[in-house]
């Protein structure tokens, strides 16, 4: 039976365990299934089970220990974010199990939970409490959060709908980086804000990592990955292709990308050649027709 469990933080042993993890999406399911079938069979028996299903991830097994920072690399659409969601427990696997020991700080969607009609202050209290911070903790850190997010004091009590998108994301990052959860999941959010703020984010993440916390990072930015991670998982075609150090994972990914580009170039070249050949043939035909035409006229 597929499931996700969250235990209390352990002093030893892996923090994140994934065993034979797989998740399945049905393509075009919604249109083709009738209500009756959906209720009688639930998600188990799908009429399109054979043809239209698609496994973004399958058979993924790994363990991540305390204090590790793992980077997940791979092409777009190979299931990196899905993997992160499975670890976060916001997606239930169809196969296998995930066990996460300790609370998870999800830096997946920084603005999640912000309500546009509430003020910055109210939102910090709301989202902070949603993530399990106590009111006292937020009281203590409120100034720090606002300061980090570079929100001017006069805007703290303005509804968030008047904020710029940068302000919202900065506030979100500032808040979530204050969480003391032992596991952090980061999905491409390091590219937040302007250069100066980005540097602050990096420092904040360095600080968190120094604290023996575990981080899983999905990114396309090689320098980010090299900077933080000591281990790399290369996800390819819905499976775990490599589990090594980050440099090797990136090298494998780059090799594959290069091979892909070379292949595409070759294909492009062939197509060009073919197009040229067709053009030439057409030109020849045209010339012949013209000649015929000329002949006809003279006849």
């Amino acid at each position: 039976m597929a499931h996700t469990t969250y235990g209390a933080g352990l002093a030893t042993g892996p923090v994140i365990e994934a065993k034979g993890l797989g998740v399945k999406f049905a393509v075009n399911r919604r249109r083709k299934r009738s209500l009756r079938e959906m209720f009688i069979h639930g998600t188990k028996r799908d009429p399109n089970a054979e043809g239209d299903e698609f496994w973004p991830l399958r058979d993924v097994t790994f363990e991540i220990g305390r204090g590790e920072c793992v980077g997940i690399v791979g092409k777009n659409g190979t299931g990196k974010s899905t993997l992160l969601k499975l670890i976060a427990g916001v997606l239930i696997p169809d196969e296998g199990e995930v066990h996460v020991h300790g609370k998870v700080a999800p830096l997946l969607e920084l603005r999640a939970g912000f309500n546009d009609n509430l003020t910055g202050r109210e939102n910090v209290y709301l989202v902070g409490s949603l993530h399990g911070m106590t009111e006292r903790q937020i009281d203590e850190r409120f100034d720090e959060i606002v300061d980090f997010a570079e929100i001017e004091p006069k805007f703290v009590d303005t509804p968030v709908r008047h904020y710029s998108s940068g302000m919202k994301v900065r506030l979100g990052f500032a808040l979530i980086s204050q969480l003391e959860h032992p596991v952090m999941l980061v999905d491409e959010v390091l590219a937040v804000g302007d250069k100066a703020f980005k540097r602050k984010c990096y420092e904040a993440i360095d600080r968190m990592l120094a604290n023996q916390r575990t981080m899983v990072l999905v990114s396309h930015n090689e320098s980010d990955l090299r900077r933080f991670c000591n281990r790399g998982l290369y996800v390819k075609g819905g499976g775990l292709a490599l589990d090594t150090d980050i440099d090797a994972a990136l090298a494998a990914y780059n090799d594959d990308t290069k091979a892909k580009i070379a292949e595409r170039e070759k294909r492009d070249a062939e197509r060009k050649k073919r197009a040229e050949r067709v053009k030439k043939e057409q030109a020849e035909k045209q010339a012949e027709q013209d000649k015929d035409g000329d002949g006809g006229q003279t006849a």
Binding site: M38, F39, I92, D94, V104, P106, G113, L130
Partner: protein, 278 residues
């Protein structure tokens, strides 16, 4: 199942936060927040009183003796205020999961808390209708009875919100997979309004000669009919025409519990697909 209930209980604070947020957003946007939300049912009550009470004479279903303790107007108010809450649950239920899609896809919490928060918000709003109801009771000379306050009132509230929660669990997940549900619900809500005898005593239908017996039975099988009769029996206890029949009472108790079971079963059943779809 038990561990799941425990997980929801552990997250009761989150439910409280969501409820508080919704109320805050609703009431802070206009100065007269509370007054506005009360104005609509009151205006409607006046219209219904005029059309149904004065013109169509629906008050003929009320026993003579009720006149001194509030009469048809109190009967209307005592039905329309809880119906307003129920209608609000019905209209927000399909969106209970969709509006929180960002939170659901980033935060690990038992997903049940979102429908729970929607119903919780409506429960608080229902409690806020009480000052208005009390005003009417005082001005119209309503006489609450022990039977009404100790039996009918708690039963009506518990059953209404049990039914509402079941319905929300059901609609919120189904609507993620089939978005047309939202439209359908709007129509059904209208039908239920008349089907639950909010504007006239149910006895008018049950004693009408033109209505065949099977239709009368069907009419009483609607769990909402009994629930709303109970809401009014609080003020008119002892009048046989205004208390639910045994059949209506049974169907509202069984129907509410059944709705909760079906709703929760559907919710758990569809949870995986919903998470993928959000």
């Amino acid at each position: 199942m038990a561990s799941r209930a425990l997980a929801v209980w552990e997250h009761r604070k989150v439910v409280g936060l969501l409820v508080r947020r919704d109320l805050k957003v609703k009431y802070q946007q206009s100065v007269l927040g509370y007054a506005w939300t009360m104005l609509e049912p009151l205006a409607l009550t006046m219209v219904y009183f005029f059309v149904f009470g004065v013109i169509l004479n629906a008050s003929r279903g009320m026993p003579e003796d009720t006149k001194v303790q509030g009469g048809f107007l109190l009967f209307l108010v005592a039905g329309i205020l809880p119906w307003n809450t129920f209608g609000a649950i019905l209209s927000e239920a399909p969106r209970a999961m969709i509006t929180h899609s960002k939170l659901i896809t980033t935060m690990k919490v038992p997903r049940e808390i979102f429908p729970l928060a929607t119903v919780g918000t409506k429960f608080i709003e229902y409690l806020l209708t009480w000052p208005v109801l009390i005003l009417f009771v005082v001005f119209l000379g309503g006489r609450p009875s022990w039977e009404g306050v100790l039996v009918w009132l708690p039963l009506a509230i518990v059953l209404q919100f049990t039914f509402g929660l079941g319905l929300t669990l059901f609609l919120s997940t189904v609507n993620v997979l089939l978005r047309d549900v939202e439209r359908l619900v709007r129509i059904v809500s209208r039908l239920l309004f008349y089907g639950s005898a909010i504007l006239f005593p149910a006895a008018l239908v049950l004693t009408a000669d033109a209505v065949p017996d099977w239709a009368k039975t069907l009419y009483q099988l609607n769990p909402l009919l009994g629930i709303f009769e109970m809401h009014r029996a609080v003020w008119f206890a002892g009048f046989e025409e205004l208390t639910p029949t045994t059949l209506a009472l049974a169907s509202s108790v069984i129907g509410s519990v059944l709705m909760l079971v079906i709703g929760y079963w559907t919710f758990r059943r569809l949870e995986m697909s919903v998470l993928k779809e959000l």
